[in-house]
Subunit: 336 residues, 2 copies
């Protein structure tokens, strides 16, 4: 398997990106193709014991930054590490693409300039993988579609269901809509309209759930529009960061007893921290384009990159693109 | 001051409601009027040392349940503790109303059947008070308007600003829109349209912020529609509950060292827990109706009720209804 990594993707690129790639090459034994400024990437590679590992470097002349407008990159940044990397997948020279770069830009480049949409898919969506104990659930859309239509939500649910089944190994995944209450009378107009469409979609729809039910694992796939999904996930991330920050501050500001206690309780707290550490998952699959694309957090570390590459590998092993092509071709007529 | 408490409001009513009222009467010295099934309320009161405290009981023949449809309660539940309690405020027999009951029902009863909207207010909103260290910020709307219009969001910002200034004591409160990124290109259509209106609103608008900035205290007032606000807040609550649940479970399942450590570190963890314990705040003000209304969490405990009554008292002390009447009368023409 050949996995492309945008070596210039993360906020601190290429350091964490290259380190994560070396880590992944060692752990997974798959070929990693680093795309970016070849000189800088090689200089970074030289810092690691990468000799003999299946790592290749492909040069790209420019970089997509967080300031680039997604609507422009298809014209202005065709020579960027992001576009060149996606081209490798489009041209069959690689099996998957991983980036921690500008989400809007990768969405635009993948959807409009390179891989393009899978036939029958109205809008691609970003699927956030959330680990709850030993199972992984999917929250989608994470931000590809700030405004959505009810029938798109049904497709997001369909694509995420296929991912849950074929990549995460859930049998007949349950699907729910994220809402501000379980009752059908709750929800905004979009949710209410989608609530009417899901029961006839053929999906294993179980109704509407609240965030607390989501974190209890009440459904395998939770569907919402990209604005709400983004806010929900970022709200949880923000609270997690805040809480662990407060715990650290209160321990640091505590007396000797508290500090000793913290030392003893640390192993238990670390287990909890790993549960909410977004870099344990590493990246979110972009579903609905003709190729495996995993989008990492801009402020990722090497572990996040390593794990995002792991997600890409799992998606390729699950043959997700074939599954989505077949599934969405069948799905389309039923949903409209 | 006379504060009405819906004694039948909470999920476990009337026990925590009455206990919280006794606590509040003792701590604040204000008169608490308990409205509900007089026999049950008096039986509950008898369990506490309430003799000599300024507590009155007013009978109400029925109760609004979580199953009652908000659109129906104005007709079917005019004799409920909720409606009777709101009537007391409308008729000038009390200064504020507190309930931990069905949010949709109190919204409908207050807006359509009893207090009614303040002149110039297009839609009342629910303002969630979030304590960050020693300052309190407001996130609104919390769920009164699952679908909103841009100009309503501006009014939510205006009402919450007045509350922040006159009840929470912030000078010239900063106002921000909740979005999925700070850039103006981010946001859904509603946010983008509101982003254009806020700068000409006369409010101290500082732009769009993400959840993490909200928890860092980047703004005093954060505005969003009721669906998104509800999901954001519930996402944070859910993650807080999950994290503390995981911490407890990992400590309980740990060895002796971990358990000893937990004992020593407990004071520091408790400080953190209080930061995210929704019952420390107690209730969310309903802004835009002709009377102080505080809505508590259905699964509240006595402390939550006591603190919700404290919020009601602070709102009355800040003369918030007069402030909102004057402020929104002036505000209306500018915003449209």
């Amino acid at each position: 398997m050949r996995i492309v990594l945008d070596a210039m993707g993360s906020d601190s690129a290429p350091a964490p990106d290259v380190e994560g790639a070396v880590w992944a090459a060692r752990d997974f034994g798959e070929t990693i193709i680093l795309v970016g400024d070849a000189e800088r990437v090689r200089a970074e590679l030289a810092k690691h014991k990468a000799d003999g590992l299946p790592i290749e470097v492909v040069h790209a002349a420019s970089v997509v930054t967080t300031h680039d407008k997604p609507s422009q990159v298809g014209k202005t940044k065709r020579d960027s590490s992001m576009a060149v990397g996606l081209d490798l997948v489009r041209d069959g020279k690689a099996d998957a693409f991983v980036t921690a770069g500008n989400t809007g830009a990768v969405l635009a480049l993948a959807t409009l300039s390179t891989l393009r949409r899978i036939s029958g898919v109205k809008r691609p969506c970003i699927a956030s993988l959330i680990r709850l104990g030993d199972k992984t659930i999917i929250l989608t859309d994470l931000g590809a579609n700030a405004d959505a239509r009810p029938e798109w939500l049904v497709q997001f649910g369909a694509m995420a269901s296929l991912y849950s089944q074929h990549v995460l190994g859930r049998e007949r995944p349950t699907v729910a809509l994220l809402s501000n209450g379980e009752e059908e009378s709750k929800g905004n107009t979009l949710v209410k309209e989608a609530t009417a469409l899901f029961p006839v979609s053929g999906l294993n729809f179980i109704g509407n759930i609240e965030p607390k039910d989501m974190l209890r694992g009440a459904a395998d796939v939770i569907v919402t529009d990209g604005f709400v999904g983004n806010i929900a996930l970022k709200s949880m991330e923000a609270l997690g960061d805040t809480l662990f920050g407060l715990i650290r501050a209160n321990i640091a500001g505590g007396g000797l007893r508290v500090k000793l206690g913290a030392l003893l309780v640390a192993p238990a707290l670390r287990v909890v921290y790993r549960q909410v550490d977004v870099f344990e998952i590493g990246g979110a699959p972009l579903l609905g384009v003709n190729g495996v694309v995993i989008i990492g957090h801009g402020r990722t570390n090497a572990k996040g990159i390593r794990n995002a590459i792991g997600q890409a590998r799992a998606a390729v092993q699950g043959d997700i693109i074939r599954v989505l092509r077949e599934g969405m071709a069948k799905f389309e007529p039923e949903s409209t």
